[in-house]
Symmetry: C2
Subunit: 219 residues, 2 copies
DNA sequence: GAATGTATGTTGAAAATTCAACAAAAAGGA
DNA sequence: TCCTTTTTGTTGAATTTTCAACATACATTC
């Protein structure tokens, strides 16, 4: 755990908790780390929502699959980010999504009970954590709304443009990497992969964008 | 306010707060009621996110509009339900949506500061309210994910079917009312209105569904 | 109850997506 | 390095959506 203290310090769940207190806080919260190889399932649809996850290394993807096998990517989780917190906080019986590791990843699981019920020591920080959690869940809400705004567009080009603009804004630059390959981007934008490839090519030819693999540039 | 005590008692924000305590709690939280006529804007995009709203009567709709005027309906809020809580909890400067009254509505606004900062009296219940709020925001998260699952479908028929099935499940019946007219349903499902009407007609002819206005029946 | 406005249904043409199949390029492993 | 696998790009046909225009049904108001 020592080697991931830096990650945990920057985890929004522990905002406002001093370095000294973080260690005791972590001891109090318990938690177990787990390693997942690339493509391995971190949380399977239908499993119990009793834990909140924190990404320590690697990248996770939150996906939904209908029963025709069509995938929808809801989002990604990078080091120091949380996942599964909404299901835990909503007291859901069964988790309705799949979480998979896009690359080798390490994860810290904390039981929601440990967060919900204040402990005897360190209780001052406990309240802070609840507030942080509330903010995190609310912010994830906004991300989902932003995704809705993107996928609400009716054409592949409009969706792609809206997404790229949001990424450029987020990175404060016209040049940035996206966390998706082509198939994943298509599953995020909810469009056909081949159609997406075609649209990207067309926009390149028109001189609107430039890209190579997952690096994009708005011109 | 007296006339709306029943509504407030069933508001999930006050879950676990006894009747006697609710009155003092409300006094402590402050808040102001406001009336909105049908079609009036309750919260305009860009305004400050310093309040949480509770619907006392009527129905509200949460919408987003891009700058071509295309509307996306994110959801509705009925009596005893909250709105705007995600923006307040995420400490957003500007609200990114419009909230409009679909019919004459009354609303109770509570400043987020009053909720975030514990008061001197009634503090036991204050903590309960924070937990309730966390659960509400998390549940709204799930609703957005469910909406994503519906709009992820590629054809109008698939979207409509997925939506109707979710409503049937929610109502525990094959026969139910939906909170949308045709245009609103189209804006929720993110499809063309005329195409939606055509699809509904076709499904009626095929004997799959039956409907009249906003009442639907799955056969 | 007549008139006006709004909501819904219908249609056909244009545009866009999806689908399937394959080619080319890149990545990974032996 | 060679071979295999995965990813990405390309294409054309079929399907579906969108768009515009109009007809009809329903509501509301005076």
């Amino acid at each position: 755990m020592k080697k991931y203290m830096e990650i945990l310090r920057s985890c929004p769940l522990f905002d406002g908790i001093g370095n000294e207190n973080l260690t005791s806080m972590l001891a109090c919260l318990g938690g177990r780390t787990a390693f997942f190889s690339k493509k391995e399932t971190v949380i399977a649809e239908g499993s119990e929502a009793d834990c909140i996850g924190i990404v320590l290394s690697g990248t996770l993807q939150i996906e939904m699959n209908d029963y025709f096998g069509n995938r929808t990517i809801l989002g990604t989780a990078s080091p120091s980010e949380l996942f599964g917190e909404a299901f835990a906080c909503a007291d859901l019986k069964a988790i309705p999504v799949n979480v998979v590791a896009v690359r080798d990843s390490e994860v810290l699981f904390i039981e929601k009970q440990r967060i919900a019920h204040p402990c005897s020591n360190a209780c001052d920080f406990h309240r802070r954590i609840i507030y942080n959690l509330l903010k995190i869940v609310a912010e994830k809400n906004l991300m989902l709304q932003q995704k809705a705004q993107i996928t609400a567009k009716r054409t592949t080009r409009e969706k792609l443009t809206a997404y790229l603009l949001s990424q450029a804004k987020r990175n404060n630059s016209h040049s940035f990497d996206i966390p998706f390959n082509r198939q994943e981007l298509a599953d995020f934008l909810q469009v056909d992969r081949s159609g997406l490839s075609a649209e990207i090519s067309k926009m390149k030819k028109e001189g609107i964008i430039n890209c190579r693999k997952n690096h994009f540039e708005l011109l």
